[in-house]
Symmetry: C2
């Protein structure tokens, strides 16, 4: 089974690396990092660089597609090569997935029209404007499309996905291997639990209109 | 403030990228990826490539040091340049930290002698053999040394660290920005909660003697 993770400049690295770390441990699954132009892609802070080793046309029909988010998603929404590839890949994929604002790229390709989906909490309005039905859950499934909320939620989504494409014990074994027994020191990971002044500040400073 | 994250071939990417994603959002903190030889470092599955942009000698005295784990840690324990750099950097660092089997590199440098520390659950015996006092907790502090358990625990450690070097609200704001509101679909992330047959299997197949 082949998983294609889209990379691009100004990607949020954890959106891609959380799922990568889970899914690469699924037996018989091969991970590929794909891009319109293979090569070094710089993360959205300009520091970390990841390498995309395949061009999109080299992976026309992956079994699994994953689109991460980050500021660079805006350019992806307007990149005809990416949109065309996504539409074609989705025709034959077993699962088409996104993390964080990667959902906006799926939506721009028309794949989320009228479908339940999630994204980073600051981007829910944008997701609706692009035709999806936003759902404020951490992992949302609609048919063969699975979307995850902000950044770190890709880990939860990928464990769910591992259970679907393999079985529950495979997912549990991976969770144990990456020792995913989360114990955040604060309870501020969602706009429902974070202090209101922090939620308001981030909403105001978001690149999305509410 | 400067954070140096050590990279090397056969690193486990999430060990480095989890903390990176948290700590790069701390105001006035600059992240650098350092290595004995700068350039492309290949992850422990041979697929993902990350770029180290600085040589160790270019960052002799970072405020924060972070050593991730992965199979490549064995070579790091025997790399005199790394060991010498770690000892010197630790002299002046504000915090010296590790994720997963990165703790074994700190131990090999003599920094954990008689100190409480943690690592991946399969490597606790090895950590003891290297002179540390293993503690089965997710994040362990001893003086200015902070160590995290396996792979994904670096996210929890980094939020704790963000609160120490900035303040609680900064850590909470970062947690909200990366939407770290974990909801794993299974409860198998620790040898205490995972099914016994999975724990036994991974212990038997670990590269560490128990």
């Amino acid at each position: 089974m082949d998983l294609a993770i889209l990379l691009f400049d100004n990607v949020t690295p954890l959106d891609a690396i959380g799922p990568y770390e889970v899914l690469r441990r699924v037996p018989d699954l091969r991970v590929h990092f794909v891009a319109s132009e293979p090569g070094i892609k710089t993360a959205d802070d300009g520091v970390l660089a990841l390498v995309a080793d395949r061009a999109l046309h080299e992976m026309p029909a992956p079994d699994l597609v994953l689109v991460p988010g980050g500021h660079g998603e805006v350019a992806m929404r307007e990149d005809e090569r990416v949109i065309t590839w996504l539409r074609a890949a989705h025709e034959t994929s077993r699962w088409t997935t996104s993390v964080c604002t990667g959902a906006l790229v799926l939506a721009a390709a028309g794949l989320l029209q009228g479908r339940r989906a999630t994204t980073h909490w600051t981007a829910m309005g944008e997701l609706a404007r692009l035709g999806a039905v936003p759902v404020a859950e951490r992992v949302v499934e609609d048919g063969k499309i699975m979307t995850a909320a902000g950044v770190s939620s890709g880990i939860d989504m990928s464990l769910t996905l591992a259970a679907r494409i393999a079985d529950d014990d495979t997912a549990r074994a991976i969770q144990l291997a990456i020792e995913y027994d989360p114990q955040p020191p604060f309870d501020a990971g969602s706009p429902k639990t974070a202090p209101t002044h922090l939620v308001d500040h981030q909403r105001r400073n978001s690149r999305f209109v509410d």
